[in-house]
Symmetry: C2
Amino acid sequence: MTTIDREHCIRLDQQDPLRPLRDQFALPQGVIYLDGNSLGARPRAAAARAAQVVAEEWGDGLIRSWNTAGWFDLPQRLGNKLAPLVGAGHDEVVVTDTTSINLFKVLAAALRVQQTRDPARKVIVSEASNFPTDLYIAQGLADLLQQGYSLRLVNSPAEIDTAVGADTAVLMLTHVNYKTGEMLDMAGLTELAHARGALTVWDLCHSAGAVPVDLKAAGADYAIGCTYKYLNGGPGSPAFVWVAPALRDAFWQPLSGWWGHAAPFAMDPQYRPVEGVRRFLCGTQPVTSLAMVECGLDIFAQTSMQVLRAKSLLLTDLFIDLVEARCGHHPLTLVTPREHARRGSQVSLEHPEGYAVVQALIERGVIGDYREPRIARFGFTPLYTSFAEVWDAVEILRDVLDSGAYRDARFQTRGQVT
Amino acid sequence: MTTIDREHCIRLDQQDPLRPLRDQFALPQGVIYLDGNSLGARPRAAAARAAQVVAEEWGDGLIRSWNTAGWFDLPQRLGNKLAPLVGAGHDEVVVTDTTSINLFKVLAAALRVQQTRDPARKVIVSEASNFPTDLYIAQGLADLLQQGYSLRLVNSPAEIDTAVGADTAVLMLTHVNYKTGEMLDMAGLTELAHARGALTVWDLCHSAGAVPVDLKAAGADYAIGCTYKYLNGGPGSPAFVWVAPALRDAFWQPLSGWWGHAAPFAMDPQYRPVEGVRRFLCGTQPVTSLAMVECGLDIFAQTSMQVLRAKSLLLTDLFIDLVEARCGHHPLTLVTPREHARRGSQVSLEHPEGYAVVQALIERGVIGDYREPRIARFGFTPLYTSFAEVWDAVEILRDVLDSGAYRDARFQTRGQVT
C-alpha cells in the first residue's frame, strides 16, 4: 500500500489498453465523474447521431424514414449489438420501453408459464434491497392478477435458499445491487431456482457493460436491464429485454401492442404475435433517444467485457485501498464486498454524514451519488475512468473529511438525488 | 367550384392568419407533406433543443441535470402545456411512455373501478375499425386477467348503442378514426355510456392538435394519445394520459414503477402512489425524445384550436372539392364524412389501385400514405399546410391518374408502409 502515489496511478493509465477509448467520450472539464452507474457519460458520437436523426431523418425524411432510415428495425438491430455483452444470442434481445415496463412483460410471461406447469406456484421471491421499481412492478402485477399472487422479500441473499420453495413461481433478482454493489452468483442461484421448480428473472441494470454476464451459460430464463448507466445510451434511453430461446416460442406477454404483431400493417383486429424476439415490442418507440444507444454500444464493440472487467477490478481495488490508507481515520465503512466474485463495478461507503459528504464532493467536482441510508456510491466505468482520477477523488474525499467541509449547512439540506 | 384556381388558393394563403407559423417548421424542398397525421413535421426549434439536451444537459450536466435541467418534471410540465389542447386542466395530464402502454394503464384502472362498482361488468366495447394496437392492448389485458373479461367489437358507430349494456365495463373509442378520418361525437357517446353504467376511454391520437377536444365538457373518464402526429413531437415521441379529476383520487394502475411513487428516492420497498397525475408515471423516461415535444407545443401556444379548426375545414373542403372537380372521372370514392361535425383533419380516398397511387404520388413529392384496403390517406395540418399545396397536390394526383403512371410495376410491390 505504501508504494502507491499519484505517479504510480499515472503509470497505470499509461499502461491501460482502454486508454484510447476515453477520448471517445465528451467529459466536462473539472469533473471526476464517478456516477456512470446512474447516468453514463456521453459518447462524442451521440451529438452527431442525434442531429442526424432530428435534422435529416425526421426533418427531411419525414415519414419515409421509418423504412429508409431503419427506424423500425432499431430495437432489434441495437439488441443484436447489445446481446454479446450479456451472453445472449443473435435476435434474442430488443431495446425498447423502460426497465419497469419490460420487467412487467417478463414477470407476466413467467407467471403464465408457471400457470401451465404448476398453477399452485404464485409467489415471486426477491430481495427487500432490490431496486424499488422492481418490487413495485411485481406488486402491481400481483395486485392486478388478484388470484393469490404475492411477493416474498428476503433480507439478504443468504435467505434465498429457504425462501424459494414449492410455492415459488419466480425468483426475481438484480444481479448487482444498486446500493451495495454486491454481485450475486447468477449461475448458482438460477440452478437453485430451477432445482425447486422456479423460473428466474434477472435485472441487469448495474451489470450490462459493467461486469461480464453470460445469461445462457447461467441457464437464466428472462433478463431485463437499462442502457443509460454503464452502456452510456443517454438520459432515460430505452431498456432491453431477453428471454431464453427455450421459452421464447411459448412466450406470451400482456403488453401486446402493434409492434409485436406478426403483420403490423395488415391492421388485423386480432393480435397475433410475431415469431421471435419482436414479440417483446409494444408501441412506437422514441426514435431519437433510441438511436443514440448505438453510440455507446459501438464503443463496447472495440473491446471486450474481459478487458473491461480486469480494469474495473483494478479501479475498485485501488479506490478501496486508497480510502483505507488515506481516509482510514474517518468513520467510513466499506459496504461493497471485497471479494472480486461478489463485486460489481461500484464501491459504496457508509458514513454517518453520507449525504453531506457526497454534496461536498460534488461541489469540488467529484460526482458520486447518495443512497439512503448514509451510503456514498462511487461508480467506476473502465471505458473512461482513469487511475489518476481515482487518486484525485480519494485526495478530495480526504480533504473534505479532514477539513470538516461537509459539515457546512448548505450540504445538509436534502434535495432530490438521483 | 369552377372559380377555384391556383391564384385563388394563393390568395387564401395570403389571408391565412396561421401563415407565419409555417416558417417555424423545417419542411424539405420539393415535398408537399400530407402525412402529418402519421408523423408531424419538424419544428425548427427541435434541432437546437435536441442539441442542448445532448451536449449541455447530458454531456456537461451529466447526472446533475435530473434536477438542474428539470428532467424529472418534464412529463408534468409538458402535460400542462398539452392540457389546454384537449380540454384538460392544470396538473391533469402527463407526457410519458407510449400510447399502447398508457392505454393499458387506463383500461386496467377503469376495470378496477368497475370491479368495485359492479363486478359483473367485464366487457370492453370498441370498434373493429379502431386502430389495431388499441384492440391488441385490450385483448392482452383481458387475457392477463382471465376472469371472464372480453372485448366486444362493433362494425360501425351506429352499433354502439346496442352493444353497450349492463355487462359493459368500458366503452373504448378512438375519437377520430385513423383510416376513415371520421370523428365521433365524444359528448354524446360518453353520455350514452354513462347512462348504461359504463366508463369511457378516448384515444386522441388523431385528435390532439387536429380538432378541438373538450374532455371535461364531454364528461369523459380517461384519455390517451400520441404527440408525434399533429402535435409534431418527433418520431415516436412519448404519449400522454389523462384521467377525470373525479376518478383520479381512486385511481390505481398496475404499471406501478418508481416514478409514480410518493417518495421515489426514499427507496421504500412498498409501492405508495403519489397523489395526483404523476401516479400515471412508471419508469425512467427517454429525455431527449421527451424534451423535443415542447417545441411543437410551443407553436400551438401561439394560436388556438378554434383558428386551427377553421383552417383545417377549409383545407379538407378544398381538397374534397378539387378532387371531385378535377379527378371525378377516376374511380375515387370519398371515405371521409362530408359533414364537418364528423370529420377530423384528414381526407381518405378509396381507389382500386390505392397502394400504387400513393407510391406514385410519393415519387412526385406528394407524401400521403396508404392503409389497407385500398385507402389513400391525406392529412392536413393547418399549422403548416398551405392552400396552394392542396391545389398542387390535386393537380399531381390528377396527372398520376390521367397518365396511368401509377400502373408502373415499381409502384405495385408492397413494402412496409407506416
